[in-house]
């Protein structure tokens, strides 16, 4: 486990490593013209050689400069801490901790950019003046081909170019510089030794001597250089002050000064690499300082001893641990080289001692320990322990890491041991965490907290590190805010007129974080914190289920807070959008409004600074809830129609079933939209805004694949807490299939995002389940937002350009007309083509009217008989209300032109409105036979009023019978026979053939308030049509007598046909009735069929018209009488029909007989008479066989007597005989001789009973009574 990134050698040394106080601070500054990358390159090269062995350093020959001569400890080394910034902030600490002082200043110059070396001479002077406390000031000329001797001054050092020089050349240069530095150190040491007083960091010059006398009130009023006084850990009890005896004041003062100067010398030995001497000097100083209770310096010396021991342990030189630092009860360890655990324990023990000494120094105002020193001591110890822990013990790697900040190679450590060591470090860390940061300024607070965080990170405690970093951010926010307040106050002191807004922004801009700085620094820290708490910062389309929701919200608010005080506008935009993404539901309305206001301001400011592309996507992945095509009312949507018969019947022949319940229904989902080239199409995009603020969508457009198109780009504002439908137009620019895949939008402050409706591969593949613990679970708990929020396929077909027709005129006033029932009327529609380029070449009409619906509904009712159903279907399918008169093949509407179409309307009962659908298209090449065609439909509505005209009120049929009684009519002139004969004469029916006809009594009512002339035609034979004319007064009911020729040869066994499209299953009406018991009013199927076919036959021979020649304003009104209103019963059928087999009786001519009517004879008694029975077949069957029965009876007597004729008539033969094989249309004669013995009236009835293979056939009886009167 190696949480610390492997540091490369060239990175700066860890300033909090345990041996950091043993490094010489050297300030590097650019001199002359040096580009930034060049300068950084130079710094890197120097850092590579930051460690100089004393053995390599040439000692200074001057005798007064030998105090820190490298020869004293050739194994030792000097470590440079190269810095590129002066830490003037901690200057007050430089006496106590000499390593904070900048001892060397190196100007780095690029030789290639230097014109005149003499100019640099001036620079040297300036550097010396700026950094008087530094011991040496040199300018290093990089890439200088010159020899050192050619340079004007010894202050210039030459470094040959990288290629020309070996790696050692720079090291040699640094050795020389070190030599010079070490030669200067004795002067500094002498200066310290000569100084009267060496002050503590927090002491003031004037009160130095009265340090012990200060009151606590005074302590609070004084201001320390860093403004940092006060207590360290919260646990310190400030009230428990120790009063110090003031005896031997001067002696004490002297000893204290001596001890402090010894400690200073020891510091210098440590810096100069003379660690042995340093250890000895520290030890001496310690003894002196301990004696005078100078706790601060005492503790500092103790720390120095610890560092010396670690450095010596690293070098590998045996050393003696001073007695003063050993625990009192371990004399055995004296003079013995301590092995790793002991030394480590000892160091920890020493740190504890140091801290208690520091705490004790708190009681002495002016001598108290600065917060930063206290904290850094702890941090250095934790650093040492962390290095040891990670290296698996007090190994050389651990020591190298502690002294030289070398990276620690990975080692495997037993878990329990590792854990134990870590717990130990954590104890120290909590001590460091306990340092109060109230009085510490921002830089120190940051230094302390980052130190803690770094150690936590090293140990792999990333959550702890996140927690510390959050604390750091929280500490920084008010401090930065304060600093900015101060800056603003300073600006506001400038008179208002002198500063305009631009200038203000100009001024504040240089303190803003520029976008290029975002990668590093404090914003990287924010990203780091976010990552630990489970907020994915890299990917914007993922949501992590990892983490604690409340904590996440809080962290993001903290991040926004920091970005606001910096101010970093890009950061505000970024973190606000993240907050909306992850925790929108936790935010109150006010919070949301505040956030979005700041978001908007930050976005504007960032834009004004030149930031163009914002990296974050819009936070709500479910912004788009639906995308749908809007049916345009302006542009009629074309439909695809098959043209050839094969393709039109395809659906029927697709399988053995007429109805397939599994066939795909044309629902909304499967509906394919058709767009026309170059015509805009409207889409409805439903957007959601669940937030409390208005959502500003800058741009929105549709995206799709397939053929090319151009989409409108719209901008809109979505109101808060609304589902908002937005309308957007799209124009296809080429034909083919176009798939709308989603839409592209850019919300204010976010980057342009594409919302896709098609499922992505990631959404389809199931997530891989990996079990992870702890922070590793982050990777497996990333949930890709199921992008898209919904899946929908909006596929449209773009078809070639089509014409657009309009109804320009119609020859009906207000598109309405009035008709009488049965009347026909024509009108003209003038079509205009709106299209500029495309003519309409293929036009077809389709009519629907108001009767369709009621008739279709009537068909659904199941109690109706078959003939009624046929009647409804007849009216529905055959009796069309509208009809096109014009031949549509000739109609073409040119581009921008007009064309006429004539339509005829029939006055049909129930017609109130009609709809004409005009389908039109454009066929480019008439030679090509198209299989299908895209058509547009134009709909035209017409209002129709149909008034009743002539109605059939009823009908009846009367047979012509020879048996009519001779009744005189009222006026006594004519008998019914006369009237009948006259009538027959009128209609041209010979009396003898009268029984081939019957008479229809037709009742007609005129419902129209004007008289109407009615004509009824009846076809009496193939050539003759008899017309009955009558004028019917308004409101009157009139009976017309219409002769009808009786009907023969009808096959009534055929089922009643259906005009509707075939159904797979037809339910028989028989089954709906229980058994064979027919409900009253219903006929058996046979009867119904018979009635149906005879009525159909009857309607074929009848026709009717009416004419209104009086009231019509616009010409004559004429129309047809709706004769389908006729209803006939089975009884009527018996009248109309001619039986299949007709039995006729007559007498053979003889002298004894006399005919008195067609079927009435007068014969003489006791004479021989021959009865001729003729059987005629009209059957549709080939031949008929049966038994003929002749039944004579006495006329006008009751049946019991009437049949008793045995003694009255003698027959020669039998009265029942078979008659076989009568061909259709043939007549068979059967003669029977008889003699009548008794006078009277006799009646003969002949019947023919058909014999079929099964049981009883039909029985036919002679229609007329055959009567013989015997005189």
């Amino acid at each position: 486990m190696s949480p610390q990134p492997q540091s490369v050698v060239s990175t700066p040394l860890d300033s909090l490593s345990y041996a950091a106080p043993s490094r010489i601070r050297a300030f590097l500054c650019p001199v002359g013209l040096v580009s930034r990358p060049r300068f950084l390159d130079f710094v890197c090269r120097l850092q590579d050689t930051a460690i100089i062995r004393l053995g390599d350093v040439t000692p200074d020959p001057r005798p007064e400069r030998v105090m820190f001569s490298p020869q004293g400890f050739p194994d030792g080394f000097v470590v440079y801490n190269f810095v590129t910034a002066i830490d003037s902030h901690h200057a007050f600490l430089e006496d106590l901790e000499l390593y904070r002082r900048t001892l060397a200043v190196f100007g780095l110059a690029d030789y290639n950019n230097i014109n005149d070396l003499t100019d640099l001479q001036v620079v040297i002077g300036a550097i010396q003046a700026q950094h008087p406390q530094a011991l040496i000031h040199k300018v290093i000329l990089f890439d200088c081909p010159l020899d050192q001797n050619e340079l004007p001054s010894v202050d210039f050092i030459c470094v040959p170019p990288k290629r020309a020089s070996r790696i050692t050349s720079l090291r040699t240069t640094l050795c020389d510089l070190t030599s010079a530095l070490l030669a200067e150190l004795p002067l500094l040491a002498k200066a310290f030794q000569a100084a009267d007083t060496i002050a503590s960091p927090l002491a003031r010059d004037d009160d130095y001597d009265s340090v012990m006398l200060t009151s606590s009130a005074f302590t609070h009023s004084r201001s320390s250089p860093a403004g940092s006084t006060g207590s360290l850990p919260s646990t310190i009890n400030k009230d428990n002050r120790i009063s110090y005896p003031l005896s031997h004041h001067t002696e004490r003062q002297r000893m204290r000064r001596k001890g402090r100067s010894m400690k200073m010398i020891a510091n210098m030995y440590l810096l100069a690499g003379r660690t042995f001497d340093a250890l000895k000097e520290y030890n001496d100083a310690l003894n002196v300082l301990k004696g005078v209770s100078d706790h601060l310096w005492h503790a500092s010396s103790l720390e120095g001893i610890g560092i010396c021991m670690v450095v010596l342990a690293h070098i590998g030189v045996p050393f003696v641990i001073p007695n003063a630092v050993l625990p009192p009860l371990s004399p055995s360890s004296e003079k013995k080289e301590l092995e790793q655990p002991q030394l480590l324990d000892l160091l920890q023990q020493m740190t504890s001692n140091i801290l208690s000494l520091y705490n004790r120094s708190q009681n002495f105002p002016g001598e108290s320990v600065p917060q930063i020193t206290y904290a850094e001591t702890i941090l250095r110890t934790t650093n040492l322990l962390a290095c040891t822990t990670l290296a698996g013990g007090w190994t050389s790697a651990a020591r190298a890491a502690a002294v030289l900040s070398r990276p620690i190679p990975e080692v495997s450590i037993p878990h329990s041991q590792f854990h134990h060591a870590k717990m130990n470090v954590m104890n120290w860390i909590s001590a460091a965490q306990a340092v109060r940061l109230d009085g510490v300024d921002a830089v120190d607070a940051a230094r302390i907290l980052t130190g803690v965080a770094a150690t936590c990170g090293k140990l792999g405690y990333f959550r702890k590190r996140g927690f510390v970093l959050r604390q750091l951010v929280l500490e920084l926010i008010p401090r930065i805010f304060q600093a900015r307040q101060v800056e603003q106050n300073r600006k506001s002191r400038v008179p208002r007129s002198d500063i305009d807004d631009d200038e203000y922004w100009e001024g504040s801009r240089d303190v803003h974080v520029q976008p290029q700085d975002l990668d590093s620094g404090v914003l990287a820290v924010l990203s780091d914190i976010c990552t630990v708490y489970g907020i994915p910062v890299d990917s914007t389309s993922e949501v992590s289920t990892f983490g604690w929701q409340d904590v996440k919200t809080s962290i993001l608010k903290t991040c926004i807070g920091l970005c606001q005080v910096i101010p970093d506008f890009v950061g505000i935009v970024r973190y606000t959008s993240m907050l909306f993404r992850f925790s929108a539901e936790d935010l109150s309305v006010d919070e949301q409004l505040t956030l979005i206001r700041n978001f908007g301001n930050a976005y504007t400011a960032a834009r004004s600074m030149g930031v163009q592309d914002f990296e974050q996507e819009y936070w709500d992945a479910y912004l788009v809830r639906d995308i749908a095509v809007v049916e345009s009312s302006l542009w009629a949507v074309p439909t695809l129609v098959p043209l050839d018969a094969a393709s039109s019947n395809r659906s029927d022949s697709s399988g053995p079933f007429i109805y397939n319940p599994f066939a795909k229904k044309g629902g909304e989902e499967g509906k394919k939209h058709l767009f026309v080239l170059d015509e805009p199409v409207e889409f409805k995009v439903i957007l959601q805004n669940p937030f409390a603020f208005e959502l500003d969508i800058l741009t929105m457009s549709l995206v799709g694949t397939g053929t090319s198109f151009s989409s409108d780009v719209i901008s809109l504002v979505v109101p808060p807490r609304k589902l908002y439908p937005a309308s957007i137009y799209l124009t296809p620019t080429s034909t083919g299939v176009l798939n709308i895949t989603g839409c592209r939008f850019q919300v204010l402050g976010c980057k342009e995002t594409i919302f896709s409706m098609t499922p992505t591969q990631a959404a389809v593949t199931p997530p891989v389940r990996i079990k992870n613990f702890g922070l590793d679970a982050r990777s497996s708990s990333m949930v890709k937002i199921p992008s898209p929020a919904f899946v929908k396929n909006v596929s449209v077909e773009v078809v070639p350009a089509l014409p657009v027709l309009r109804v320009n005129r119609i020859s009906l006033p207000q598109s309405s007309l009035m008709l009488l029932e049965g009347e026909r009327r024509r009108f003209v529609i003038v079509l205009g083509n709106v299209s500029e380029t495309v003519p309409a070449t293929s036009i077809s009409l389709k009519f629907t009217d108001s009767t369709t619906k009621s008739l279709s509904a009537a068909l659904q009712e199941d109690f109706r008989g078959e003939s009624d159903r046929y009647e409804i279907e007849m009216f529905l399918h055959k009796r069309a209300a509208l009809r096109c008169v014009t031949d549509l093949n000739d109609v073409k509407v040119p581009a921008n032109g007009e064309a006429e179409i004539e339509v005829e309307v029939l006055g049909k009962r129930g017609l109130t409105s009609a709809c004409i659908e005009i389908s039109y298209s454009h066929v480019f090449d008439s030679d090509v036979v198209l299989k299908e065609m895209y058509v547009r439909t134009l709909t035209l509505d017409i209002n129709v009023t149909v008034n009743a005209s002539i109605e059939v009120a009823g009908c009846d049929f009367v047979p012509f019978s020879y048996d009519m009684p001779m009744i005189r009519t009222g006026d006594g002139k004519a008998t019914t026979t006369d009237i009948l004969l006259k009538f027959l004469d009128q209609v041209g029916i010979p009396f003898e053939e009268m029984d081939n006809y019957c008479l229809m009594l037709l009742d007609l009512r005129n419902s129209w308030p004007s008289q109407l002339a009615v004509e009824i035609d009846s076809r009496t034979s193939a050539n003759d049509i008899h017309t009955v004319k009558k004028v019917i007064q308004p409101g009157h009911l009139t009976r017309l007598l219409v002769p009808i020729r009786r009907i023969i040869d009808i096959d009534t066994s055929l089922p009643i046909p259906s005009l509707a499209p075939p159904k797979q299953f037809t339910r028989s009406s028989v089954k709906s009735l229980s058994g064979n018991v027919w409900k009253s009013g219903l006929w058996s199927p046979e009867v119904e069929r018979t009635v149906f076919w005879y009525r159909e036959e009857l309607l074929k021979v009848l026709d009717g018209r009416w004419i209104d020649n009086l009231s019509a304003i616009d010409g004559l009104r004429r129309g047809a009488v709706e004769l389908r209103a006729l209803r006939i019963s089975p009884q009527m059928v018996d009248i109309i029909r001619v039986d299949d087999v007709v039995v006729n009786l007559s007498l053979a001519p003889s002298q004894y007989i006399r005919k008195s009517g067609k079927y009435h004879w007068i014969v003489e008694a006791d004479s021989f008479i021959t009865l001729v029975t003729s059987v005629t077949s009209h059957s549709t069957a080939d031949s008929v066989s049966g038994i003929l029965r002749i039944q004579p009876t006495l006329r006008n007597l009751p049946a019991s007597i009437a049949l008793d004729i045995n003694r009255r008539i003698l027959f020669n033969g039998i009265l029942q005989m078979p008659v076989v094989d009568i061909k259709s249309g043939d007549t068979r004669r059967v003669e029977t001789d008889f003699v009548v013995l008794v006078r009277g009236e006799y009646e003969f009835v002949a019947s023919f009973e058909e014999t079929t293979a099964g049981f009883g056939g039909k029985r036919y009886i002679g229609r007329e009574k055959f009567v013989i009167s015997v005189n």
């Binding site: 990333f462 489970g534 929701q549 409340d550 809080s554 922070l775 679970a777 708990s781």
Partner: protein, 141 residues
């Protein structure tokens, strides 16, 4: 004395959290955290998860005792078999009592887990659970 209890799921997510006070020494069961501390509690508890995760491999008992501290506050932890962490922020050491509290809490948690309408890592919103935890707190702490 005030306590802060958090049940943390396998993904660092809070399944349940509760602030409460002691009923002993005349306490009324109400938490007495300062406003700052109230905000900080989840963060403190969250930051000790690192140590919980390390501790769990070093012991075979579920009760990990006090694992972390922050200023004067101590954090005790209990690790369930399903990698669910109970963390209690408290002020004084009382390992035995806290162990009993955790064991009973585990009992409650397992009962919740057995509900067919509850899945691991889902926040516990049951009012009954809340009430029983408060009763446990009253009983032990």
């Amino acid at each position: 004395m005030s306590f802060y209890l958090a049940i943390i799921g396998t993904k660092d997510n809070a399944v349940y959290d509760l602030e409460f006070g002691t009923y002993r020494q005349g306490g009324d069961g109400k938490p007495k955290f300062s406003a700052d501390m109230k905000q900080l509690c989840p963060f403190i508890v969250h930051s000790s998860l690192d140590i919980v995760e390390e501790m769990q491999w070093n012991t075979n008992v579920m009760h990990l005792k006090v694992i972390d501290k922050f200023y004067n506050y101590l954090i005790s932890s209990y690790m369930t078999a399903g990698n669910i962490k109970f963390l209690l922020l408290h002020e004084t050491r009382a390992d035995d009592v806290i162990r009993q509290f955790f064991v009973d809490l585990y009992d409650l948690y397992v009962k919740t887990l057995m509900s067919p309408f509850y899945s691991v890592d889902q926040p516990i919103t049951s009012a009954v659970f809340d009430q029983r935890v408060k009763m446990l707190a009253k009983k032990y702490l």
